[in-house]
Structure formats: structure tokens, C-alpha cells
Assembly symmetry: C2
Homo-oligomer: 343 residues x 2
């Protein structure tokens, strides 16, 4: 295009100075006379000079950008996390580059490869549901590339991570159902390959065990793609409802699954909690707005984004040794809405 941008060279030419003088003047170096500085600054202003971040990046070998990889942006939980990430990034002068894996391993690998090949200084990632091979991440991680995992993490790598206490969230939710007299409690969760899924299911099982209830066959349903495809949820719900012993309550282990289950049950004309009670992980407004409102486990998504970005910046700016791994666990909020479990 024809919009030739103003460079340091233009200023130098205009003023009959050398580029280095101009450069130093702009950076307010002590070795430049205040006269020259004023001249340069005025000229820069007049020509509307803007430093070229690309040139700077090349020189300084850093981009002041960070990459974020999530499965989906249009998701209450993740968009809230990204909000937190962007806020901190803005404050610290970083750009945020977003990519979606759409829960595809292949796409995650491609996204990562690209981002890590010097177009970002660090990475925030919540792994895709298909990801059970971590060599792509290990390669980067072992090179010392700053990475912070959030929400969906892995034991395969010793890394920095920000998560919520999924066990606790699921335990308390299940306990709440138990305390209200439900005994046939089913669970719908994400892929068994995901950390969040296992932690939540563990919490669920532990609560049942503490109340001497054996988990029944078929009571745990996995949605491999976490409900990215709606029919997956529908089918899981249908399987539960056609079990010989039908559950009287349901715990849904993610925002998307919660919304999807409510939707499926409503479409089938079932009453909540009349026909089946629901409690679940949810970061959307639906929990409060449906009638009666749902009790939910709310994840501190904004805080998670902020914490992860904070940590990442510490790594990038070497304020913390990369190998001093920090695992930060946030506490979920359990919101009890009394009427939600009336039998």
C-alpha cells in the first residue's frame, strides 16, 4: 500500500542528524544535548513518528505478545478467562494472540508450532480434549519456553499451572445433593483424558463414598468433545434416562455440559428438579434465571486468567526461575439456591 510510515531515518534526514542521534534522543539518552532532544522530539511529533514494533522485536528478540490456546472462545468460561488475561496483558504492555483448537489435537499442535516459533514470548494453554500426547509441549517446555497451563493441565509435564480445586467443587456439589436426600446421583463429564474431568469425578466419587453410596453402573457419562457437538450431550442424557435404575439427580461437570443438560431435559419436557435435580459447574447466567434457579459451582474464571497471565509475565521477564514451578489452585465458589433441589 501507499502508506509509507515515518521512520527514524526520516527524522534524521529532516534534521540533518544521524539515525543513532535520533534514536538516542527519542530514548532520552543522557549523552544527547537537550537542544537536540527538543528538536528531535518536535520533529517526531510533527511527522507523527511511531516506532516500528517489528523492528524492535527483531532487535530485542522478543515480541511483547503472548499466545493463548483454548478449545473455544465462544464459551462462557473461556471468554471470562480471556478477559482476565487481556486485562493483565494490557496493563503490562503485552498483546494477546488468540487461537482455538476446537478440541483438535492436530490443530493445537499447528497453533503451537506457529506461535512458539518466535511470534510470542510465552504461552497460555488449556489443552484440547484430544491431547494425550504431550511431545509438542514438552519440546517447547524443555527449551525453557515460558508456558503456563490453565484449567486443563497435565501430569506429564512439570509445569507452571493455574487451576481450580476441581475435587472440592465436585465434592461439595455432590454432598449438597446427598444432604438433600438424593441417592441416585449420576454425573456427566468431559473426556476421561482431561485433568478437570478426572479431578471432578474423583470429588464426586469421594462424596458418594463418604455417604456409603456405591456408584451405579452407567451413572458416569463422558462427553468426549465436552458438548462442542450438542448431540453428544443429548445422547448422554438419553442414556442416563433409559437406565434400568433412573437417576434422581445429575451433576454436570462443565459450563457447557450444564447448559446442554438443562436444554436437553427441557426439550424432553422433564421438570428440574421435579423429575431430576441438577447441580453443576456453570459460569453463565442461566443458573440464576431458570425457574427454579440452579445451584452451581462457579469457577473463578477472571481470576484464573489474571493469575495465569501474571505468572507468565514473571517467567518471561525472568523474575522467577523457569524451573521453580508454581501450581496455583483457586477455590471455586459453590452457590446454593435453596429451591433448586426441592423434591
Amino acid at each position: 500500500m501507499k502508506f509509507e510510515a515515518v521512520t527514524i531515518k526520516d527524522i534524521a534526514k529532516a534534521l540533518g542528524l544521524s539515525v543513532s542521534t535520533v534514536s538516542r534522543a527519542l530514548r532520552d539518552s543522557y549523552e544527547i544535548s537537550s537542544e537536540t532532544k527538543k528538536l528531535v522530539l518536535e520533529c517526531a511529533e510533527k511527522l507523527n513518528y511511531k516506532p516500528n514494533p517489528i523492528a524492535l522485536s527483531l532487535k530485542e528478540r522478543r515480541t511483547r505478545s503472548i499466545g493463548v490456546v483454548v478449545c473455544e472462545i465462544a464459551n462462557n468460561f473461556f471468554s471470562q478467562v480471556i478477559n482476565g488475561i487481556e486485562s493483565v496483558a494490557y496493563d503490562k504492555g503485552y498483546n494477546v494472540i488468540i487461537s482455538q483448537s476446537h478440541e483438535s489435537y492436530e490443530r493445537e499442535v499447528i497453533d503451537l508450532q506457529y506461535l512458539a516459533s518466535r511470534s510470542v514470548d510465552g504461552l497460555l494453554i488449556s489443552v484440547s480434549t484430544e491431547t494425550n500426547d504431550f511431545t509438542h509441549l514438552r519440546a517447547l517446555h524443555e527449551k525453557g519456553f515460558p508456558i503456563v497451563f490453565f484449567d486443563r493441565v497435565t501430569d506429564e509435564l512439570k509445569t507452571h499451572a493455574v487451576t481450580v480445586d476441581n475435587f472440592k467443587g465436585a465434592y461439595e456439589a455432590t454432598e449438597h445433593l446427598l444432604k438433600n436426600g438424593f441417592t441416585k446421583i449420576a454425573a456427566i463429564t468431559n473426556s476421561e483424558f482431561l485433568s478437570i474431568s478426572n479431578e471432578r469425578i474423583s470429588g464426586y466419587k469421594a462424596a458418594l463414598a463418604d455417604y456409603n453410596i456405591k456408584p451405579k453402573k452407567g451413572f458416569i457419562q463422558h462427553c468426549f468433545y465436552g458438548g462442542m457437538i450438542f448431540s453428544e450431550i443429548e445422547e448422554a442424557v438419553n442414556r442416563l434416562l433409559s437406565l434400568p435404575e433412573r437417576p434422581d439427580a445429575l451433576i454436570t461437570m462443565s459450563d457447557k455440559l450444564s447448559t446442554g443438560c438443562v436444554k436437553t431435559l427441557k426439550r424432553r419436557g422433564l421438570k428440574i428438579p421435579g423429575d431430576i435435580a441438577i447441580i453443576g459447574f456453570s459460569n453463565s447466567d442461566i443458573a440464576e434465571l431458570i425457574d427454579p434457579p440452579l445451584s452451581v459451582v462457579r469457577q473463578p474464571a477472571l481470576e484464573m486468567g489474571k493469575a495465569a497471565m501474571d505468572l507468565l509475565i514473571q517467567l518471561i521477564e525472568a523474575k522467577r526461575p523457569v524451573t521453580d514451578f508454581e501450581k496455583r489452585v483457586l477455590t471455586p465458589e459453590i452457590i446454593i439456591r435453596e429451591s433448586s433441589l426441592k423434591h
Copy 2:
């Protein structure tokens, strides 16, 4: 920081070739012997060579990144738009850099300045509610910098834009209320400085006029920050409810306002539609899930993101003269749920 990346130079050194030969071999130039090519390619593979996008950007004067400025990411409508943007960007090999204005003019200006100073090849923007001075955008635009406005646009600039037919959406929603016997129809909308707000209010007024109904005093409430602060919505609803002549129906002009109004009314213990009927612009699941479900105007958010990104790429890649302004208007979908307006 010790992760020294492999450069073309390393390959050259390893093979005893010159950098230019290696560069050409990697780009499969016809002037390089197939032997040398094979050698170079193998070596590149072995050393895990990845071209440095920053160096390329500097040379080619383009970044293969685009900037997106929206008020908020954690918003059903905008996160769906961004999903569309990212999808197309991925297909075409572009990175997406996101920033939020949080409805602040000042912040929008800063975001823009930074992004446009060569760190992105083009810009997708939905202006903040505070923006009524467009000099920052005009400056860029007149330089020929590729910009596509979406959703919230402006007449102040002759630009490329993707919008929805807001007039039509609001007209039909209002008409639906009118046909169902409502006559005291109030509206809650965004700032009067926003294009979307005016277009929607025009549609609302036109429908009323066609049914010979004069808009009543106080029946149009503006939420300057579009409900970013929840209390703003609460107060608007409260003002409506304490009018001498209380409305029997409410049309809400954005996703956030729709959810916020339903929330406020529920909290006040009012029945929808028993006490007051609601229809509104909504891209979330709440409309289907509350009881009875709401009739809504759904914006084609994903399509808007895709269309805007498509257009932007055409501009960037000069497949279309920048001055051949295209305004693309998408059609909103009006979803009628019969029970939603029962008196």
C-alpha cells in the same frame, strides 16, 4: 532465555553453504540443484528450523496479524463474532490480536494506536460506546489502512462495514408484541451514540407508528454503558416500572440488556410475561431455557465475524480497491416462542 533458535545461518554453517543458497533452497527456487535442496531440507528438518516470522515481517512489511477491538470479550455476541473471525483467520494464515476497550474511548484510542503502528496488517473494530470523535480512526482510514467496522459502525467515515439489519430486527420484534395485543411497549437500549442503538430504536418507533401508537414519555431507556455495569440495567428497569403508566411489554436491544432485564425482573419477583412481557436481542441460551422461553432476535454473530474477516483479507491482500466500500448487511433471525407472550 537460553533457547537459541535455529536460523538459516546455522544451516548454512552446518552445510558450508551461503545463507542465500539456503534461503533459496528452502523456498524451492529453480536455481538450486536438487542435490543441494535435499541436503538443506534434511538439515533444516534435523535442526528443527523454523523461519522467524518477525524477520519476515520486517522484510515484507506485513505481519500476517490482524487486530480486533471490541468492548468486551466475555459477551455472548462478541465472543461468537470473534469465533468467526478466528476461524477465517486460521484458514488464511493470519493471527488474531484481541483487545478490549471496556467501552472506554481513551482505551480504544490507545489500543488502536498501538495496533496500527505496524503490528497488524488490518483492523476489525466495533466502536466503544464512548466514541463519538472519530479522528483516530479517520487518520488511519485516510492513510489507506485496511479497516472493517462491524456491528457498531459510524456514518462519520465512508468505510467497509458488516452489520445486521437492526431496523428490521427491532421492527419485527416490536410488531410481534403489537400483534399479540401489547400496546404499552417500552424499550431498553444502549447509548444513543451507537449506530446499533439508533437503528433499533428507529425500527421500534416505525412499528409503533404503523400501529398508530405514540411512543410514551419515558418509555425509551438508554443504558450508556450497555449494561457493562449491571446496576445501570437495574436502574433503567426500575425507572420503567415506576412510570405513571406502567409498560406491559419490554423490548431489550442487546444480548447483555436482555439477560440483565430478565435478571432484574426475576429478582424483583415479577413474572415474565405475566407482569411484563419481554422480547429482545439475544445470542445466549437463556432465551430458550427460562420458563416460559423468550422470543428473541438472534444476530448472526458467527457469520458477521466471518464476513468481516473475509472482507478485511480482501483489503489487505489488495484484491479489492480500498475505496470500493462494501457495506454488508446480514439478516437477523427472529425466533418466536409462542408461549412467551401469553397475557
